[in-house]
Amino acid sequence: MAFTPKTAPFRGKINAVTLGTGDKAIVIGGQNVMPFYTFDAPIEHAPKIGVEISDLAKEWDAPALNEFYAGCATMADYAKKAETMPGADFLCLHFESADPNGANRSVADCVADAKAVAEAVTMPIVIMGCKNIEKDGELFSKISEALQGRNILVMSARSEDYKTVGASVALAYGQKVGAETADDINLAKQLNIMLKGLSINPENIVMNIGTAAVGYGYEYVASTLDRVRLAALEQADADLQMPIIAPVSTDTWSVKESSATEEDEPAWGCREERAIEMEVSTAAANLTGGADAVIMRHPAAVAAIKKFIEELI
């Protein structure tokens, strides 16, 4: 008798969330198996890769990365270029310079950038703020308004500002909202419950359950990912069935392994390669742990992860 492998799909299923519009629209989530367990049930929507574009991208200091974006001046230039990056599924606009403790760029300038990008590209757009609660609140609301109809994802609704962000982004302008918490399954669930309490449709919520670069307390991320996914699938906990997006590059490019110069750490080898390796290993860890989308920066890292996904799905 022939061997028939026993499949074990779960009764719980991750919500399928569509980002963007038209041909380039993507769907994240939708599976009822653990990451890459295609032998249990088909995974219709492979994990997606987003490319981070910062409004401080000019300060990026990595030869191959700079080479890739050579000649780009505006955020829209960067975005257009990023759209051509092999493996890219969506774009993530990171408005770092809006931070009142940093460059404190005006909301109007940021919105103008976002609009210019939206006009220049067709890929789905994800918005990342500057981590300042007040500034982000205004920024998210204005960008959501300006990009109405593009079905964007706004990354950060936190327990401090979920009400204003949730109400403006998801309810008023019909965009997708990201629920951001810090490495704790209970806090993640609580935020989802509260967003649902605002009568936001759970199908419009994506989770960012917290990230870290590998080696920087990533164990917490790993166990949180694992627990969130098992609760969603095994226990069919509807409050945790939102797909997960992991902003990888913001963490990996700021750690010592990626930033220490070759003069300071001669034994560590090429700085850019180190940065790519940090990005690849962190993204791979997130994807195998349960993330449905990762946000990355370097074309070489994106290519490696794209290959990783294709081999496994």
């Binding site: 327990s159 009400k163 704790d184 399954i185 209970n186 806090l187 669930k189 609580q190 419950i193 509260m194 309490g197």
Partner: protein, 640 residues
């Protein structure tokens, strides 16, 4: 330099001092009661006083508004004396000690609960008898022909009357023997204890004076309760309670341990409990019952580990430090004379044994009183106080743990919080449509609102949640007349408008208060949850829940379940058993069986240290939500 404290409703107190002295310290030194639950670090805002004349150097505080500052209001703990001055001390500050409402058996309901507990103990085979005897002996007075000395004469008479082989006469009896014998013509009553065939005399009196008294004491972190009982009949002779005098050294055990570690601190803390708290009540109770202090032949104490240490004057520092090892769990051989308590100097003080640093004798005594050690059914015993202690099990096993609920149940950490004294809101219902509250206030019918006590906060939060005014995180989500926001957008619910309150200040519950309370209830529930997990059991296996603690008297169990503080079991399974520590201590002092059983229960109880238990923090975060992150645990919680 001089400071005069003008105490509202009391006589002024003046104390000499130096420039730069801290006002709260001065108040403590001169025994002026200023409530300072945070031990004077400026965080609780409870030590408000008003400067009448003179000069104080005061740090600004978020607890004092600009108008209040202009009117002279200062925080005593943040004020240094700059010149001769007079300060007004509001009455609410001293209310805690004199009018503390606690389960001290003063109401018929409490007495019924108390007697009920004893009946259950009798059913469990605890006999309420002891080996104390009051024997009246009649001797032939000595003569030139009968030259036996007094001590031998008495010993022989006692040996014959009791059928014992030997009689021991201690110093305190010997010194007055000659006098008492002759005063009563050699007909006397001797009180003492029979131990292994030996009669140990403790007191000698006239033949009519046969009373032997026992004293049971519950030393709580906040309140102290005491009963005097007749050792022969078990009848209550007198009862009394008051605030723990150590309160001015901090509201919780941690602050007290820090305080006792300062130079002279141990003595200060011990004096505060023995000289200032226990002695006055004891003297009062003796007077009330018409007995001599010397006739108190046994005492028992139910107190948490820290209170036990501070009571006997043993350094408690190790209770607070990892690995959290106290100086003693079980201790025989302590006598009233050692601590100079007004009682027979030979009276033994039975200390209900501690089980861990944070599960003390009050819990052992309470467990005894609850009777869960003799039941087949699975019972949960919860003692709600500054620390929450949980015991779970049945006749086959008992597990215990403690969690730090913080002072929220007693009104600390809550802007309008107060202990359960006059003017405290103890229960509340909110109308869903109008959002108007209906309040039950402790005190006379025309008592105005001063603040909210623990049971009132439980009701208030449960009602705010039920009416959809706050969300599961305790944030305000509805707008209305009673919902105000400050300049930072922080919401609050006005319980009483300024013109309605006793103090003339608005009484309101804000988001920070609610958050603090949610943490307290989260600590309690997660401790229960963790303890159940540790023995691989679930909430539906609980047959009975016994809730104890003076603070618990007014708790609406359904509201407590509604906010996820207690597990969601049928309301009929909840039993309020009052001050179980006092009930247990009472049983120990009257009954030798009970005293032995308490030691046995303590020895058989397993202590789970939550701080080292891996799942606890996780469970705690999950419980810091209304009612809980896992709503399936609370199917009966309602949000309309």
């Amino acid at each position: 330099m001089k400071v005069t404290f003008q105490i509202e409703g009391g006589n002024p107190v003046t104390i000499e001092c130096n420039a730069g002295d801290n006002l709260l310290e001065l108040a403590r030194r001169s025994n002026v009661a200023i409530d300072a639950p945070c031990s004077g670090n400026g965080s609780c805002g409870k030590c408000r006083v008003r400067l009448l004349e003179g000069e104080l150097e005061s740090l600004p505080s978020r607890h004092i508004t600009d108008e209040e500052y202009a009117a002279g209001w200062r925080l005593a703990c943040c004020s240094k004396v700059r010149s001769d001055c007079a300060v007004f001390v509001p009455d609410i500050a001293s209310a805690y000690q004199s009018r503390m409402k606690t389960a001290d058996l003063s109401s018929p309901q409490e007495l019924a609960i108390f007697e009920d507990c004893q009946d259950h103990l009798r059913e469990s085979g605890i006999h309420f008898v002891n080996r104390f005897r009051a024997v009246t002996v009649s001797m032939t007075p000595p003569s030139l022909d009968d030259t036996m000395p007094d001590s031998e004469r008495l010993s022989r008479a006692l040996e014959e009357a009791l059928g014992v082989e030997r009689v021991e006469i201690p110093f305190c009896v010997m010194v007055k023997l000659a006098h008492v014998l002759r005063q009563h013509d050699f007909v006397v009553c001797v009180k003492g204890e029979l131990r292994s065939g030996v009669f140990h005399c403790m007191e000698i009196r006239g033949p009519e004076d046969r009373t032997m008294a026992g004293c049971a004491i519950d030393i709580g972190t906040t309140t102290v309760t005491m009963v005097l009982t007749d050792l022969t009949s078990g009848k209550l002779l007198a009862k009394g309670s008051c605030g723990n005098g150590q309160i001015r050294y901090g509201a919780d055990v941690i602050n007290r341990i820090i305080e006792q570690g300062r130079p002279g601190g141990r003595k200060k803390l011990q004096d505060a409990i023995i000289k200032e708290t226990l002695t006055p009540i004891l003297v009062n109770l003796c007077r009330h019952a018409g007995i001599h202090a010397g006739d108190i032949l046994r005492l028992s104490v139910g107190a948490n580990t820290t209170m036990n240490h501070l009571f006997v004057g043993v350094d408690a520092a190790s209770v607070r430090m990892e690995p959290y090892i106290p100086s003693f769990f079980h201790w025989d051989g302590l006598l009233a004379g050692d601590l100079k308590l007004p009682a027979n100097p030979l009276a033994r003080i039975l200390i209900a044994p501690n089980i861990g640093s944070y599960v003390g004798g009050d819990i052992t005594a309470g467990t005894l009183a609850s009777g869960i050690w003799d039941k087949d059914e699975m019972s949960l015993f919860i003692d709600l106080g500054t620390n929450g202690e949980i015991v779970f099990g049945n006749r086959d096993f008992l597990m215990s743990c403690a969690c730090s609920a913080g002072p929220a149940f007693e009104g600390g950490d809550i802007s309008c919080g107060m202990r359960a004294t006059d003017g405290a809101v103890e229960a509340c219902v909110i109308d869903k449509q109008t959002m108007e509250p209906t309040l039950t206030v402790i005190g006379d019918p025309d008592q105005r609102v001063v603040g909210i006590c623990g049971s009132g906060i439980i009701d208030m939060i449960s009602e705010l949640f039920r009416c959809g005014i706050i969300n599961a995180k305790g944030l305000f989500v509805r707008e209305g007349k009673r919902i105000l926001r400050d300049e930072h957008g922080m919401g609050r619910y006005v319980v009483a408008w300024a013109q309605e309150s006793e103090t003339g200040r608005e009484v309101s519950l804000n988001e920070v208060d609610i958050d603090n309370f949610i943490r307290a209830k989260g600590a309690i529930f997660s401790a229960i949850d963790t303890l159940l997990h540790a023995v691989d059991m679930t909430v539906d296996m609980i047959d009975k829940v016994y809730v104890a603690g003076g603070i618990g008297s007014g708790i609406n169990m359904e509201n407590a379940v509604n906010i996820g503080m207690f597990p969601d079991v049928e309301p009929a399974k909840f039993h309020y058993i009052g001050n179980s520590s006092l009930t247990g201590a009472y049983a120990m002092v009257v009954s030798d069986d009970a005293a032995a059983k308490t030691a046995e229960v303590a020895a058989n109880m397993t202590y789970l240290e939550l701080s080292t238990y891996p799942g606890y923090m996780d469970s705690f975060v999950a419980a810091c939500f209304l009612p809980h992150t896992d709503a399936r645990l609370f199917p009966h919680s309602r949000q309309e």
